[in-house]
């Protein structure tokens, strides 16, 4: 659980509550897995502050995430105020290992390092692994996929179309 809160300040008591809140667009990930929670502290009895950072500026999931966090805290008997943080800007490095695995199992290839990412998206190098059969004989279909954070790929062996989560660093 420790790696979930790396680079962030989160009170241990609040982790189980936050770990119940799923990302609305990738429901197998929690907001902790995504690394969008930068700060969560209890300020007085049954009252907490949560600071969130958006993945992409225009990410439409942010408002839903804020609502879901409020619901989860209310259910746990907490009053919560939520703030949006712009700095430091979110990075795909903050996605947890558990999150990367869950993402892959869900059919979304996890982000590569920045150099490999560029090679895959720009130079058409075959390095993104198909989430269904594991082949790297894959092809970029579009640099923008079903959401701003993903690109669309196709496996040329098993023909599965799949999303690749772009590296943002």
């Amino acid at each position: 659980m420790d790696e979930l809160i790396e680079h962030a300040e989160i009170d241990g008591e609040l982790i189980p509550i936050l770990d119940e809140v799923a990302d609305p667009e990738i429901p197998v990930l929690t907001v902790l897995d995504m690394g969008v929670i930068r700060y969560a502290k209890i300020i007085k009895t049954r009252e907490a502050i949560v600071k969130l950072t958006p993945t992409y500026s225009g990410c439409p999931a942010m408002d839903v995430i804020a609502d879901d966090i409020t619901d989860a805290f209310t259910k746990a008997g907490f009053k919560v105020s939520i703030e949006l943080l712009l700095a430091p800007a979110w990075s795909t490095d903050w996605i947890s290992e558990r999150g990367r695995n869950a993402m892959e199992a869900y059919g979304i290839a996890a982000p590569l390092n920045p150099i490999a990412d560029k090679a895959a998206l720009l130079d058409g190098e075959k390095i993104v692994k198909c989430t269904l059969c594991g082949s790297i004989n894959t092809k970029l279909v579009s640099q923008f996929g079903s959401t701003a954070c993903k690109a669309l790929f196709k496996c040329e062996d098993c023909l599965e179309p799949f999303d690749y989560f772009k590296c943002l660093k």
Binding site: P54, Y56, S57, G58, L86, A87, P88, A89, Q143, A148
Partner: protein, 250 residues
């Protein structure tokens, strides 16, 4: 001073809003599903950035206006975007050329805005540049594909480059207000970006077998609120709901 900062923020933000609106017009009308989704995704990034800018602008202005008020309730002459971003979606070659000519500027501009001594602008720049680097890759890629593609696609990109070139110089114009912002370390001195811009743009155009226009005749005015005829039509569409049903909200 606050009014100057307010206008400076609008100058940056309005570029994102108007280009985002233009790209949004392609929703459901892109030449292929993938490009349709790409253009609207870029639009979404720009709208996201614009929200951060307008929220900050509203805070600076201190009149309790919402980001929507700032986006939707100004008359044409109060929009401070450059002329380039309001040019219409004539065909896909124009869409990509407009995007490429803007993305290159946007990227170089944000690189410098990250050094602003205004913390909010610095934060927005650091966030946005990650997104804009993808936009620039996408549009550069299409310039090369179409420019170095078939005779037809080559000719169309060349035509779009020739036509839109006239709006590139304005990107580097500085109003009196801009100069105040530069001198106090908030704004970006765009004059130092110019050589790098034209060199980088030319490099992509040449690799796309497109001739770099030599014309030295340029258009300007957007940064002072004097626009081409196209902005009025864009706004009448964009502001329709607020004009027809004042104060409506989602």
């Amino acid at each position: 001073m606050n009014n100057i900062l307010y206008k400076y923020i609008l100058g940056i933000a309005d570029n994102c809003l108007i280009l985002g609106q233009r790209l949004g017009e392609l929703c459901g009308h892109g030449p292929s599903l993938e490009t349709d989704i790409a253009c609207t995704n870029i639009s979404l990034d720009l709208f996201g950035q614009v929200r951060s800018y307008y929220q900050y602008a509203s805070q600076i202005q201190g009149e309790g206006k919402s980001e929507d008020d700032i986006a939707m309730l100004r008359p044409e002459r109060e929009y401070l975007n450059v002329l380039l971003v309001e040019q219409p979606n004539t065909d896909f070659a124009y869409v990509m050329t407009r995007q490429f000519l803007f993305d290159m500027y946007h990227y170089l501009f944000l690189q410098k805005l990250q050094e602003s001594n205004d913390n909010t602008l610095e934060a927005i720049a650091k966030k946005s540049i990650k997104e804009v680097s993808y936009h620039l890759r996408f549009s550069s890629d299409w310039i090369k594909r179409l420019g170095d593609g078939t005779q037809e696609s080559h000719d169309r990109i060349q035509l779009a480059v020739n036509d839109l070139w006239v709006y590139t110089d304005e990107l580097f114009h500085q109003t009196e207000d801009d100069k105040v912002m530069v001198s106090n370390g908030v704004g970006v001195d765009t004059s130092v970006l110019k050589d790098n811009y034209y060199n980088s743009v030319s490099e992509v155009l040449i690799s796309a077998t497109i001739e770099v226009p030599e014309s030295k005749y340029f258009q300007k005015g957007g940064k002072l609120g004097i626009h081409t005829e196209h902005l009025g039509f864009l706004l009448s569409d964009m502001q329709y709901m607020q004009r027809a049903y004042p104060n409506m909200s989602w």
